[in-house]
Amino acid sequence: MNANDTINYINAEGLQFFGRVNASISHELKNILAIISETSGFLNDLTDLARQGEPLNLSLLGNCNQSIAEEIQRGFTTIKKMNRFAHSVDVPVTEIDLMDTLSLTAQLAGFLSTTSTVRINADRKGVGRILTSPFLLQNLIYRILCLASETAGPDGEISILVSSDTDSGDLMRIHSPVPGTWNAFPTPKIEEAARILGIEMSLTDDPEQLQLKIPYVSNQIVALAKVLQL
């Protein structure tokens, strides 16, 4: 794949990924609004009953108020994540904090009702900064989490441990206790994204986990940045 093919691939893949994430976010926002709408309707019902002489149940009113406040907060949090995700395309190649990117991507994947719970840990203080394509890295991690969730299921738990890989980069270990989680790994799209990002991927048997070696700087990313004339 030459440089132009790589850029075309990133753009086409990126558009599809952007659409998929935005669809899940809009679904989340619609659910939030549906709860607020039903709660508001329920408050109307209580008002109508009070007009007919029924005593007002203050405890129910308080619960409704709290529920609306919680859903509004959930909406703000969702929009904040959407905003961070939208800005991840601002700069095609830049330095990122892996934990930040990983955390946001896990939260975005969490908007899908089929995604397993994701627990993220780092085994050292401070994580090095990585020169990468933030958007493509998000795409790669998102695809991996979706793939793992297909087997682990929505009640499953995927754990991710980030540690140093000598001085050259970070090591991300992704583990699910469900046997066969990685049977379909790697998909061609995961493989291609990892290749462009210069990330080495490997599976281990005991425990069954996927390892990603993420270099602080890779030749592939430097070449990509040159093509993009950064």
Binding site: A23, S26, H27, K30, N31, L33, A34, I35, S37, E38, T39, G41, F42, D45, L49, S67, E71, S113, T114, G153, P154, D155
Partner: protein
């Protein structure tokens, strides 16, 4: 036999609970299932019977169209309203083909549910 008026199948717990309360305030009975597997168990239980089912498409364990297919195998006559956040036109066509009674985007108007219950009651009495 547990005969309820409306079975709500939706993984958004607060939404389902609030809708259920509003249905009950109008004098109807209601029950809730939060995933496809639980819903199919409910429908397959010979002691349970629902007049109307409200089914979300995005469930954690199964897609709604698969749940609809299985419900129709167990109880072909039960009316199922698809209640979705973001169902596509393709979903609408598929649900119609599978025998859905209606395809509605959230939020649903409570009066529409009551009207449908009335329609079903009238159809049964004729």
């Amino acid at each position: 036999m547990k005969h309820i008026d409306v079975l709500i199948i939706d993984d958004e717990e607060k939404f389902a609970a609030m809708l259920s309360k509003r249905i009950m305030l109008r004098g109807f009975s209601s029950d809730i299932c939060h995933d496809g597997g639980q819903a199919l168990e409910w429908v397959a239980d010979p002691d349970n019977r629902a007049t109307l089912i409200l089914l979300d498409l995005q469930l954690p364990d199964m897609y709604g169209t698969n749940v609809l297919t299985e419900i129709k195998k167990i109880d072909p006559a039960v009316p199922v309203i698809i209640l979705t956040g973001h169902g596509t036109e393709k979903d609408r066509e598929e649900c119609s083909r599978l025998g859905a009674y209606r395809f509605v985007h959230k939020p649903i108007q409570i009066d529409d549910i009551v009207a449908v219950l009335g329609e079903i009651g009238e159809a049964k009495s004729q």
